[in-house]
Symmetry: D2
């Protein structure tokens, strides 16, 4: 059984177990076959067979130790030289790597996947401000390669579901997952799963609460044409009393300040609403959240987001005005991100 | 055959004729039975049978003249005294009347439906700035009782389709339509139709242009949680080169000013985005419209919107702060409305 | 407006009028666009554009008289020589013609479409035994070119709907319909319509009675893999007390005699159940019909079914064993057809 | 985890494992939640909660031995007296028991569920004539309490799926399954599963072969209004070269003999086609099966089907004419059953 198949089987078991207590999980089970087959459909994702073959070729070695509470997610693996070289080359085939980093190996046979984002910096800013994750079921919306999801497990979450519609990120997750070995929680089940699907496709039932105690949504809201629909979807995934951790691009200003870039923003397409923290607070209230706090506002720097050997495209440095790096190339304020924490009543 | 049945039959004929040239009209035809039966469903609309009986009881008199280019839509009808009294009582059963006004009758047997809005004032502000409606197919989104739709016919439109999901407005339209008689256009078909449906339910096909040369959307956008979806839906209804006439609540401010009321605005529920004219202009560009002009900005006064004998509820005067009528009771800027005109390329 | 468009428009009007009293007709209206566009879809019917062009090119001449109560459906048309030649050639483009015959023209410019079947013989055998069609709504299932449908109008039916999924038969009907002119019934509407659809696709609602006073189903049942589903569908189309006229292939035998040809029967594919009259009577009872009568049993002869100039393929003569014409080429009993008449309670 | 939940989980694992090689199994996975929740829906099945509570209350004892190759499916269970009495009473709550028998217990604490049918007699008549079940995936359509399914496991099948839409039979299966313990096949998975669903709801894909090497369909065909649709559905479940074992009621006669009872047959409702063996052979050929053999014809006796303490309603003896037991009470030939074996090419 390949790593991917083992992961998918664990996902079935987890959802089936949830369905015994939360009928909404049956709705997840119904959709799961389509979600899992879509990401393997080469008509839809031309690179899917290649990515899958990359993961399947990774050497079948169990880690000697796993660390999910360090800056890099790390699997101590006793590679021989051939395995080391092969693994390194295979992982490079899954470039560009955006969220991380990851360390696989040991001693002088260590692969350090130095990702575009030093995602640990964001995690360090967020973690002190949120409810203790111990024993919680957590959803990470738009979770990329799963870096933050692994950190959530490291912080005690009993079950983490990472969703992201990207075929590449799905396979990056599966590659990292491959080297992390069993990871079993107290029920012997894998504590972390990746579903290649977007938030808007998840089951919602207004008559039932959601499955999760904590929902993370970082770097997603500004890509949504309808922020209120996005907030409603996030709320629907939360159990009553559950916590939303929302990170998005913001601008300076008062309750009535919202930037909508006419075209691109920092060279990104599909950027819609960039509210001020004050405006975002109003939106969260309007969407029905309570106990709303802004726990961090941070201007992204090139220490945190930059091109590396594992992500060689343009990165933040190229998105800023070369004459005035307080502005993007389009002349908008340079990226600033806020983290909001709030609860579903 | 009742007035309502005659209207519905005319709608079928119009859509069928359109379908010969524009296949998207077949999609309208498919949905039409559900649209027409929904508005008669008493489980959904408790008052539907009553409203329908009101329309059915109107005396079957043809008008001696019809005027669609005056401040009030007017049907000169030679009522006898009994017919006059009965018609007046029946029309009063369809209160509250919001958009108008309407004049039915003649001499001292004249019914003047003095509506909450003097909708002629808005029409006079808009008409000089838009493309000549002569011979155009026009859609009026959220058209209420159809007042503006009748004025569009008066301004030369060959076919006007008014849509509004309100069961009451549907029957108000049918009551007025009853007294207007044949109105046949050069093809002998009725030039005006009412479909009780919301914009979001209309057929859309990104591979086909829409059916309409001009689309009006007045007083709708601020009620939509997702303004960009609303703009995309409006665009989809337009033929290439067609014109959008968009009226919505705005606030003073620059490109980055958008008011989102946390709860109610001027005592209205479900109010979302109130942009500045500058911000709205950016949104229209982002949505793919061109030739964007703001042709009117107007602070609504109690001359234009007020309680009358035909709308006795609270009106604008009650929605403003009694100490400072530059503000709403919630403390927001008092209602200001802009009219934007732009084109689908 | 072409003949086909005019026919379709008349169909919309008829169904819309029915829907005022019988809500099930709204279900027909919803499906009508798909039915009408399917038959024009050249991906589905390669010949559809050609057939349509044939009908569209027929000369626009009104008949001087129309006869629907003679052996041939006849339109007296005063062709000039060019029109006569052109019409004849165009109609020949719609070969093979199976059900008829038809006579179009006058004097020495008369086109006699001598069809494979002399369908008048069957009609003469059936008509004396069924309820008077005067003023009835009638459905003809599998009605081919519409010959019997025209005869039903001739026998007084107020509305006839012919259904048949064949694209060719649809256009044959439209070609004949073209020459028959107005035909208006007392409501000024066309009394006959063709819908290119199979019985199994018609709307059914077990909570509502069907639309028709008489349903004809001739030459269809033996092609159905599930005769009981077919009988249930026919029943669903009937009003309470309505009459079914069912003609199908039968064999000699008792209540327990049913022939199921292993492969082909008389060179036809897709032949399933050929019961005896006694067995068929049991089936009709089981299906819930009452007042069941067998009104005709007839061994098809080469007088009634034969190759002609308008149907040059193999016909009955070729389907029989050349040494023993009491048998088909496959060795089964030669075709024998029974007509059953019964009622929905 | 209850027995039922454990069974359902095993079913998920089996289907998931199949899906890795046979994509059609994903279609089963998609429908599985609806199938499993339907049978627990008390609006649909008033007794479902009661039946489920019966199964849940069975004492949690592992068997000391299990025998699936004897006349009765037998679990040797070391009951204490209280467990014995309780189990006996609970199992009696799931009456009437039709297919069996079953023996649960040991020595003088043995429960013998003496079912209406001595299903072992049929099994003995069938088994010698079919392909060796060793290592095969088997579907049992209309499998009742699962008796034959357990015997299939006893005969070596690697995976057996029993389907039957009956809520009672589902819970009878679960009760028996409860006492049979692990039963793990070489993959450690349960070799037998019950899905509460009818044949017609199973996924079919004409582009893919079915999942099963052998399909049993015993006592179902005569209840189907459309035997050819039933045969097509059975064929669709078979892999190429797979074997169908079909048992149904037959009558004496030649290729053209088919009895269709007008109303009831042996006091059963919903009985449609009873062909002769010769006619049934033609049907199987027509449906595309090959290597068709009739391996058994048997007149059901009161030794095989009779009322017992576990099925106290009327049974065969009551369904026959008391004066002439060669006939049913309705006067038809008394029940005779044939077993046909054939292959999908």
């Amino acid at each position: 059984m390949t790593s991917i198949v083992r992961s998918e089987q664990a996902l079935y078991q987890t959802l089936f177990a949830l369905a015994q207590h939360y009928p909404i999980a049956y709705e997840w089970l119904k959709r799961l076959p389509d979600w899992l087959t879509a990401v393997k459909n080469k008509d839809r994702y031309a690179h899917a067979p290649f990515y899958q073959s990359v993961v399947d070729k990774l050497p079948p070695i169990a880690p000697t130790a796993v660390y999910l509470d360090e800056a890099c997610v790390r699997a101590e693996v006793a590679f021989d030289d051939s395995e080391y070289r092969r693994s390194r080359a295979l992982l490079a085939n899954l470039m560009p790597w955006r969220k991380g980093g990851f360390i696989i190996g040991r001693d002088d046979r260590t692969i350090h996947i130095d990702t575009e984002w030093r995602s640990d910096l964001k995690w360090e800013r967020v973690l002190p401000h949120i409810s203790d994750l111990t024993g919680r079921r957590v959803l990470d919306v738009g979770g990329g390669s799963g870096y933050h999801g692994f950190r959530m497990v490291g912080a005690g979450a009993s079950t983490v579901v990472v969703i992201d519609p990207s075929c590449l990120f799905y396979h990056q997750f599966m590659a990292i997952r491959h080297f992390l070995g069993e990871l079993g929680n107290r029920f012997g089940q894998s504590p972390i799963h990746f579903i290649p699907v977007g938030l808007e496709e998840l089951p919602q039932d207004t008559r039932q609460a959601g499955l999760f105690h904590t929902v993370f949504c970082m770097g997603v809201l500004y890509h949504r044409a309808s922020p209120f629909e996005c907030l409603a979807q996030l709320k629907a995934q939360l159990a009553h009393g559950g916590e939303l951790v929302l990170e998005t691009l913001v601008v300076a200003g008062d309750e009535n300040t919202v930037l909508v870039p006419q075209d691109r923003y920092a060279m990104m397409n599909n950027v819609y609403f960039l509210p001020s923290v004050a405006a975002l607070t109003v939106w969260l209230k309007k969407a029905g959240f309570v106990d709303i706090r802004c726990v961090d506002v941070n201007i992204t720097t090139t220490d945190e987001q930059r091109a590396t050997d594992w992500m060689t495209y343009h990165s933040l440095g190229d998105f800023l005005d070369s004459d005035d790096n307080s502005k993007t190339v389009e002349g908008y304020p340079r990226p600033m991100r806020a983290v909001m924490v709030c609860k579903r009543p």
